[in-house]
């Protein structure tokens, strides 16, 4: 069955002359079209679909066999018919043209400029799928990033080259938290070499405007590269958006030595698109209908953070993950947590108390914290102090739970102290508002809070440090604002 013809189509142009068009669609379903012959294109190839009315869409070959080829259509299959739609090869792989001039520009989810300026003249055309970094080529993530937030700097320290997601429930101010991190991380670093790459998947117009405005306010307006797929843009495009963003990020970091902070939001929308394609392919669904390979797929995004030996640049990732129904065991946050180096978890209870940022530090974690703290990096007492504050706060929360059962009268003196500690910890240390704290201020406040707890209880802290910090405050007579 020879269905190729070279009849000129409306758009014309050199590409149409170079690549033969084929009319061999056999099946259309959801975001997929099937071609009758799998021999024509290689897997991963990008195709142009020319519809009967001359409209052009892009598709990517997912699977080939002698009987068929499966193509996912990025802009959806509405209006695609079998008779008149033709396919032709556009590129051997999904590529993004990259250049230093991307900084300050705005693109759609496929990397096409949408800011009204002419297209970027690319230095290189890179495969957006990237390739795994050779583990022996990786350099250990280090260098503390001061975000100005006690809940992160003090307890879940972010370091360059890390991937640290934010887990949040619907209605929690995650965007405001992300704005805070980006803004302060930017001010602290050498502004010359700092770039934010923003990848937005399926976010609303309002959210997109919020981010673009706040990046602008941070004085880093010119240092943002934005890839935006909005809620009403084609869903399948979302599978490409984070990869475009990371391709640009890697290029700026590893070719030009920038410190790149990548904010990806919302990964849940990305996973929904993945599920959509999987179900159209009639694959065996995993938990909640998400495909069994979602872990592998997500890791091909998250693992693109890090540093390389002998390279100045770094890619740090802050993916935003909304937790459906506040459920941290939902497959999306669950698989994310297994890949990323920790997580920042937002709490509805703290938000209801009017505290910002409403971060629950107990389930939050930064696995790379040890690389960024301690003598010479932050302060020698940082780790012990954080451990002790954690332990006291966790205990205080237990007491609070107990109190709700047995009543306050049943509590002993020491229990009440822990109760008060937990309260102050939340309102003073965590709920700092929009102010910016240095790491010294965070640690200092931590020590002042510990004054609520008798010294003998502080067994997680090295004795020398207690002598140095705990006593110092008491003997100086500096009144702790929370005692007496």
């Amino acid at each position: 069955m020879e269905s190729m013809e070279t009849k000129p189509s409306g758009g014309g142009g050199a590409r149409d002359l170079l690549h033969r068009q084929y009319w061999d669609l056999s099946y259309v379903s959801g975001p997929l079209v099937f071609l009758k012959d799998g021999h024509r294109f290689a897997t991963g190839a990008i195709l142009d679909l020319v519809l009967g009315d001359g409209a052009v869409r892009q598709g990517q070959v997912l699977e080939t066999s002698t009987t068929h080829a499966v193509v996912q259509v990025l802009q959806g299959t509405q209006g695609v018919d079998i008779e008149r739609t033709s396919v032709s090869l556009r590129a051997d792989a999904a590529r993004l043209g990259v250049s230093r001039d991307m900084i300050g520009r705005r693109f759609n989810g496929l990397g096409e400029a949408i800011d009204g300026l002419p297209p970027v003249l690319p230095d290189e055309e890179l495969d957006i799928m990237g390739a795994a970094i050779n583990p022996v080529a990786r350099d250990k993530p280090r260098d503390f990033i001061e975000t100005g937030l006690s809940c992160i700097d003090g307890f879940n320290t972010l370091v360059r080259g890390q991937k640290l997601p934010i887990f949040f429930g619907a209605g929690l101010p995650a965007n405001r938290l992300a704005r805070h991190i980006v803004r302060h991380a930017a001010t602290k670093s050498d502004a010359e070499e700092f770039v934010v790459v923003f990848g937005a998947m399926g976010i609303t117009e309002r959210e997109a405007a919020f981010f673009l405005r706040s990046f602008g306010e941070s004085g880093q307006g010119a240092r943002v590269v934005a890839f935006i797929n909005k809620a009403n843009d084609p869903a399948i495009e979302r599978l490409f958006t984070p990869r475009c963003a990371l391709t640009a990020a890697e290029y700026l970091a590893f070719h030009h030595g920038f410190q790149v902070l990548v904010v990806l939001t919302d990964m849940t929308n990305y996973c929904e698109a993945l599920r959509q394609v999987s179900s159209a392919r009639e694959e065996i669904p995993g938990r909640r209908g998400y495909p069994g390979y979602m872990y592998t797929d997500l890791s091909s995004i998250y693992e693109r953070a890090g540093r390389l030996r002998g390279n100045r640049g770094s890619v740090t990732q802050i993916p935003m993950v909304s937790m459906p129904d506040d459920d941290i065991t939902h497959p999306i946050p669950d698989l994310t947590g297994y890949i990323t180096e920790g997580q920042i978890v937002m709490s509805r209870a703290l938000h209801r108390q009017g505290l910002f940022p409403p971060v629950d530090v107990l389930p939050s974690l930064s696995r790379l914290m040890n690389n960024g703290i301690g003598e010479g990096l932050t302060r020698a007492d940082h780790r012990d102090l954080a451990n002790q504050l954690y332990a006291c706060y966790a205990h205080g929360r237990d007491i609070r739970k107990l109190m709700s059962i047995v009543g306050e009268d049943a509590l002993g003196d020491l229990d009440r102290k822990y109760l008060q500690f937990a309260q102050e910890f939340e309102s003073q240390l965590i709920g700092q508002g929009d102010v910016r704290r240095t790491i010294d201020e965070t640690l200092g406040l931590g020590w002042r809070l510990l004054a609520l707890i008798p010294k003998e209880e502080l067994t997680r802290i090295n004795k020398d440090l207690i002598d140095r910090y705990y006593c110092e405050i008491m003997e100086d007579g500096v009144p702790s604002p929370f005692v007496g």
């Binding site: 021999h39 294109f41 290689a42 897997t43 991963g44 190839a45 699977e63 080939t64 066999s65 002698t66 051997d92 799928m129 990237g130 390739a131 795994a132 970094i133 050779n134 583990p135 022996v136 080529a137 990786r138 350099d139 250990k140 993530p141 080259g161 890390q162 065996i284 669904p285 938990r287 069994g292 390979y293 592998t296 890791s299 693992e303 890090g306 390389l308 065991t329 669950d334 947590g337 297994y338 890949i339 180096e341 920790g342 997580q343 107990l362 389930p363 974690l365 696995r367 040890n370 780790r383 451990n387 954690y390 332990a391 966790a394 205990h395 059962i405 047995v406 049943a410 509590l411 067994t459």
Partner: protein
């Protein structure tokens, strides 16, 4: 590689992710390695259906088209065993990652090949056989000082039988050069190949009566495993599986560590690679890297190679076991391996079992864990004993242990070290849940601990378990009616088990003095806490007030005893115990 024949070249007929099918390859066997496509990507045959052959490809198939060639190699997936393994970092199919970096830069390219063992490097070989000697598989042909502390014994490959015709003189040779020639003309070199999916032969299995010591109090004391034993470490994300596996790699009493990073984070490997060369083996003082082999297939590296990576790791482990070493293989994480099996099975459109995993998951997992054990090594001459201990991390979705990988592993593993998110949230590390974990080896090991452990070890352990059990019961009461409803004696149990939890079970992996706890320190620390409990208990029986006892300043000294280093611990412990006795006497006197 083995010679390939033209007849065996077929063509690609279907490409679906890591699964490729081909036709026109008569004679190709299950498990055979094939070279797929123009890029000659490595793949393994996993199904044969008439003329159609299905292969899982160990590299990314993007860009491949139908009609590209597939060539059989005539051999299954094998690893190269010989000098040069220690200190090396391999990918899942045993390509040395530093060599790949030289070939393709910072990113792993496709279709690369690099020999597992460096063909240019020479090793000083000291023969131990002479012409006329009879040799069989497993016999020591000679030795090579592989790293500062490890001497590699060059073994006759399994299946060897014959008489030595000639041996090279002591001197420097490359791994593939013949060193021994048998009378039948067989030439043996320092390197041998072995198919990874087959267990290497060994002699009789030995009893599990020697402990695999980890330097971790909660494991050594409450849930010890034997050399040659198996343990699984399941836990939700953030509970510290990887920290446990890495801590064990640093401090356990095995001679050789094989660390398999299967489908895990690249940055963690960067951590190991930067940390291990600088850390000292606590027993020999040499660099830790000198006893370690890393097999790394990070989560974004091709999924099929995860399957290969665990087998590659365990086969390298068996090779050192056969030399008479105690080997520990850490597999982090076996769940990622199971997921790889699931992905491939689903591409083959196999009928899924529980949660989409293939029905042979249980068989694969049990075969894998059964490769552990303490054995009499194959070969004549001095009777060597070696062991292979397997510790597998499991990553259950949502932290829910009822899922198939955890449950299947539990049926075969000898110990469960269950990690608990609620402990991790309060930074109680290692977050091993003492109520949920177990070890099936503890009775078999009692004899060893009685003979070699600190005095009263087994009794003290029982006391601790009993206290923690009582504590769990009392906590339920407290949750209902509050602590005031308890008798003083019961409140003392709560206080004592709190001390056990905080002083004894918790251990700071990042503290120089506490990351490793010797048996003496482990036993001493527990003993001290229990002495304190017993003294308080006695005073309470004599009518003392509990609140006064709990205010005794010695409690803080006790809590800080944890930070005393293992060296010279006994003296510090005696001081604290003397203090406890003195205070008890004083309190009794009042």
């Amino acid at each position: 590689m083995e010679a390939t024949t033209v007849e065996r070249a077929g063509t690609v007929t279907r490409i679906s992710g890591p699964m490729v099918s081909a036709t026109g390859m008569p004679g190709v066997a299950m498990g055979e390695i094939v070279r797929v496509g123009r890029a000659a990507l490595m793949g393994e045959v996993i199904r044969i259906d008439g003329d159609t052959v299905f292969a899982q490809v160990f590299e990314d198939t993007a860009g491949m088209g139908l009609g590209e060639p597939v060539v059989g190699t005539g051999a299954p997936l094998v690893v190269e065993l010989g000098p040069g393994l220690l200190g090396q970092t391999f990918d899942g199919i045993q390509r040395p990652l530093p060599a790949l970096r030289e070939l393709s830069g910072d990113l792993v390219g496709r279709g690369l090949s690099a020999a597992a063992l460096d063909r240019d490097r020479t090793w000083a070989f000291a023969p131990q056989v002479a012409a006329g000697d009879a040799v069989a598989g497993g016999d020591v042909l000679g030795t090579v000082q592989e790293t500062a502390t490890i001497e590699q014994r060059i073994l006759a490959p399994p299946g060897t039988a014959g008489r030595v015709d000639s041996v090279v003189a002591p001197g420097a040779y490359r791994v593939h050069e013949p060193i021994v020639e048998l009378e039948d003309g067989t030439r043996l070199s320092m390197m041998q190949r072995w198919p990874v999916k087959a267990a290497r032969p060994a002699g009789a299995k030995l009893a599990s009566d020697r402990p695999f010591l980890t330097g971790q109090r909660v494991l050594d004391c409450l849930f010890p495993i034997a050399l040659g034993g198996t343990a699984i470490v399941p836990g939700g994300f953030g509970t510290g599986k990887t920290v446990v596996e890495q801590t064990l790699s640093k401090y356990c009493n095995a001679d050789i560590i094989v660390y398999v990073g299967c489908g895990e984070r690249g940055n963690e490997m960067a951590d190991v690679l930067s940390e291990f060369p600088e850390l000292q083996d606590p027993r020999t003082g040499a660099s830790l890297m000198g006893r370690t082999v890393l097999v790394v297939n990070t989560s974004n590296m091709p999924v099929a190679a995860r399957d290969a990576s665990v087998y590659t790791g365990v086969t390298i482990g068996e090779y050192y076991r056969d030399q008479g070493y105690d080997v520990a293989v850490m597999a982090d994480s076996t769940s990622r391996w199971a997921e790889a099996l699931r992905e491939i099975a689903s591409r083959l459109e196999e009928m899924p079992g529980e949660e989409g995993y293939p029905t042979y998951l249980a068989a694969r997992i049990s075969e894998f864990y059964e490769r552990a054990g303490r054995v009499v090594c194959a070969g004549n001459g001095e009777a060597r004993q070696g062991s292979l201990t397997l510790v597998g991390a499991v990553s259950p979705p949502g932290g829910d242990f009822s899922e198939p990988v955890t449950q299947t592993s539990l049926r075969v593993a000898g110990a469960l070290w269950a990690l608990d998110a609620s402990l991790a949230y309060r930074r109680h590390y290692p977050a091993v849940n003492w109520n949920r974990s177990y070890s099936l080896y503890d009775e078999e090991l009692d004899g060893w601990f009685r003979e070699h452990g600190p005095e009263g070890w087994c009794e003290r352990r029982r006391d601790a378990v009993r206290l923690l059990q009582r504590d769990a019961e009392l906590q339920e009461v407290v949750q209902l009616v509050g602590p005031d409803a308890l008798q003083d004696a019961e409140r003392l149990v709560l206080e004592a088990s709190k001390l056990i939890r905080e002083v004894f079970l918790q251990q700071n992996a990042f503290s120089d003095s506490d990351a490793y706890s010797s048996l003496e320190k482990t036993g001493g620390l527990l003993d001290t806490v229990l002495v304190f409990y017993e003294k308080c208990r006695a005073l309470l029986d004599d009518g003392a007030m509990l609140d006064r006892l709990l205010d005794l300043p010695v409690r803080e000294d006790l809590a800080r005893l944890r930070d005393a280093p293992s060296d010279g611990f006994a003296a510090r412990k005696d001081e604290v115990i003397a203090q406890i006795r003195a205070m008890a006497a004083e309190a009794a006197g009042k």
